[in-house]
Symmetry: D2
Subunit: 278 residues, 4 copies
């Protein structure tokens, strides 16, 4: 299992593409061990995720680029645990689940730090040996608060930012820095119940199913590419609080499922949607 690499390609499609890409790999003496491909026909775009055996050399990139049309993206990833910073506010359920999964290696990630605008999740985080930063937002502008967040986050050099019930809106500037790398868990089966008090809304509407949506964050709140969605059944005997508990349960499951897909490099983003090789 040593020295395993993963190749991710997103490119304009053309005739003979797979033959050419696989030819480059063959000439580099690299074996295709797992291979997923998808062509988005509306925009003629080709996506490929390949686990390769063997040791790539520096010239692989150039050789691949030569066979691709100009509009392409290539990533060669040496398999590793993804570096993650978690932002939270006061709710414990998603954070707690992620800390357990971290401790027992149930997700392929390292939690570099937990940062919250409240101090209440400190003991939970620290009991798992994870450093915790309390960055209050009071009397700060959104920009000032994010500056303080970034002064902690940037040196940690995370690959992903996970919003584990972080209840503040990020600025476009922040999102731009970690473009397509910020993952949020939304308290609803999007696009329903956007906004505040979702479980009160769900209760008032008398829904029979509670859902949750994990998605990448873009500049339009709650409208980024969807990674995973799940639901739980509820009924008329559920109070708004019971619905909130059901919501917590479905949120933590959905977030964990989405992160498994992302950390395993299974998720491509294209035109505000995801292509997921499950």
């Amino acid at each position: 299992m040593e020295n395993r690499y993963r190749l991710l390609i997103a490119t304009e499609d053309k005739k003979g593409l797979i033959h050419q890409i696989s030819g480059v790999l063959f000439r580099h003496n690299l074996n295709i061990e797992i291979n997923n491909e998808f062509v988005e026909t509306q925009f003629n775009r080709f996506f490929m995720r390949t686990d390769i055996g063997g040791e790539p050399t520096d010239s692989l990139f150039n050789d691949l680029r030569e066979v691709l049309l100009p509009d392409h993206q290539i990533k060669l990833i040496k398999k590793h645990k993804k570096r993650v910073v978690i932002l939270a506010t006061k709710e414990h359920h998603c954070l707690g689940d992620l800390l357990l999964r971290y401790k027992y290696s149930e997700l392929d990630f390292d939690i570099c730090a937990v940062i919250s605008n409240y101090n209440s999740l400190r003991s939970l985080s620290e009991s798992f040996g994870v450093e915790f930063h309390f960055v209050p937002h009071e009397s700060l502008s959104r920009e000032e608060h994010e500056e303080r967040l970034l002064s902690i986050i940037v040196p940690l050099n995370p690959e992903y930012i996970v919003l584990a019930k972080y209840m503040r809106i990020l600025t476009p500037q922040f999102v731009e820095i970690y473009k397509e790398r910020v993952i949020n868990i939304h308290h609803s089966f999007l696009p329903a119940f956007i906004g505040a008090n979702p479980y009160k809304q769900a209760y008032d509407r008398g829904v029979k199913i509670i859902g949750a949506t994990a998605h990448f964050v873009n500049n339009n709140l709650d409208e980024g590419p969807i990674i995973a969605q799940s639901v739980l059944n509820v009924n008329h005997t559920y109070s708004a609080q019971d619905m909130a508990q059901a919501g917590r349960d479905v949120e933590k499951q959905t977030l964990a499922r989405a992160l498994r897909l992302v950390f395993d490099d299974r998720v491509f983003i294209f035109h505000n949607k995801t292509i997921i090789f499950e």
Copy 2:
């Protein structure tokens, strides 16, 4: 199993209520065979669904009324197949499923007639021995069209109107006539994707779950009390047409499930929500 009756009571709650109601039944020599109760505490309202053994006499109603507070509703139902008129447009999937269930008694109902503003479902309906009425809406005002519908529906005296993908909006006047008796299947996991082209919307948004909602119709389109909701998983390989097929499948399942609950008298409506004794 002959002569089985069901008693439905919705009333303002008070101390000793169950004792008093059960006392009336006991004095009438009626046995409580299945009993469901629920108290909506926010508005202090009591709901009860009771299958009773024995033969009720005319005085039962009066005796029950005497022990209830003024704001109450009572229904005594001799168990029977519910009389239903189905309205449809051009889509076959919900209608086809209901016709099969009718033929093989998989739902406790009789279909008196199918009425459509197109003629395309005639052969399907008639192949199951169900009368079909083609009532085109072209060059008619909504009121004129509904008048023609009602001239067919009213003489059939249905207990419920089922909108099996009937793609026209009913007037408040129509809804008022069959108040809390019109059931619709909505192409979405309400409250998401209200409006036209739901599967195109779902495809564009890149959702991972397709849902459907069966609900009673009130005057606010798609906002009536929810009876049942279900979902199916989809993924990025689904075209908008594939999503539509998944939608058809989940719609017909959800509608059938909702109708089973309604025809079995398990559904109370209160404050635009349902209380369902499952």
Copy 3:
């Protein structure tokens, strides 16, 4: 919300029973606030779960007994957090989830202690402030090992024993002591894949769904009354290890759901099945 009581009755059914029970409550000035009833018709047995308002006096029991047929059970429960001892072996996922729910009061219970035949879950338990006992089973007979367990458990006086992936079979003697109070999470959608290596079995059989079953323990391994079952979808790309991870996820969800029902006194046991007022 203070002084809230719950009444649980299981008894042979008879005509007028609800009237008589509700009459006793009325005369004791107790209000029926939530009421669930079910009659098992095959054996003519009546089940009732009632949340009552007011303060019961000592004579309530006697007065209730007078109106019930001889074959009955009554419990009057002052609402409280259930005292629980958790038995585990080496797997962390169910225990971790329960510890989080305990810390944040997401389940209505107190964890008195965690006991394991291995020492590996000590730090996890103690990081949540829960006492941990390491009771190795090596070189002990099953009876000797259970004696040591009981020497810890009995003084703690738990109402329920939760087997959170406790991988040893309990003797009939142990089960008898905590009859209908030992809850197990089983690595399968019972009655499938009974036995060892369930995920290897599931992988070999090529199943498309992984399940879990929470059940009460009786003397026939894996055959006690079922409380809750859930499933997750899997596919051919899942290795046996991936299936095991899916299994862990569905196990912890299913156990938590079952415990919510049990600790909320919603579960009756009758003829090796459960009646659950959800």
Copy 4:
């Protein structure tokens, strides 16, 4: 969409395989429009499903064979509706659903005939314009009965035999003739409740979920490769009949889902399991 072909390859894996296969296609001027690949690592077997654009010539097969190791299977399929014979007994629900899907092209198949050992489904089949054959089994040996079946089936030359609740066991001889082409819907979440009266078994066991399994038929009853599985929730109020109705609903959904996958050439069989490109 005219002249669309699909290529299915199952072969021993080797280095450079994708490059060589895609090279053959490229030299034949064929475009890879949709491509799925999977390598079963335990047995080193490669599976590929490719939708190709262009018009293959006779030499394609030979050229492909030249680049594959000896142990391989190739199928080149011109896309078409699959020819299907349905075997049934007395239950209507799966057959009815398939007939509706046939009439409205919701599955990519043609139903050549329905054959049953009872006459009760004749009117249903014929109302959809499908020929129906009544082949009673009484006073016939299993072999004699199958001979009569085959005298009808063989001339119809079906690609698949669908057992839509056909309640008789097929002989190994019959299964051999239509090897890996007979699809059954099983009344359970296999491997649970194998045998007769599954819903009575489920009721007696007090399960909380009802399942169904669609699978290919091999010589070990109920042990063929699984294609699809689904579940529905049930509870203690369900009678054995209610569970049977829930079973019918989940069976017809599961069978339709499995057939969609099979008729779309998404299912490979290998070592008694399925590889499904969803």
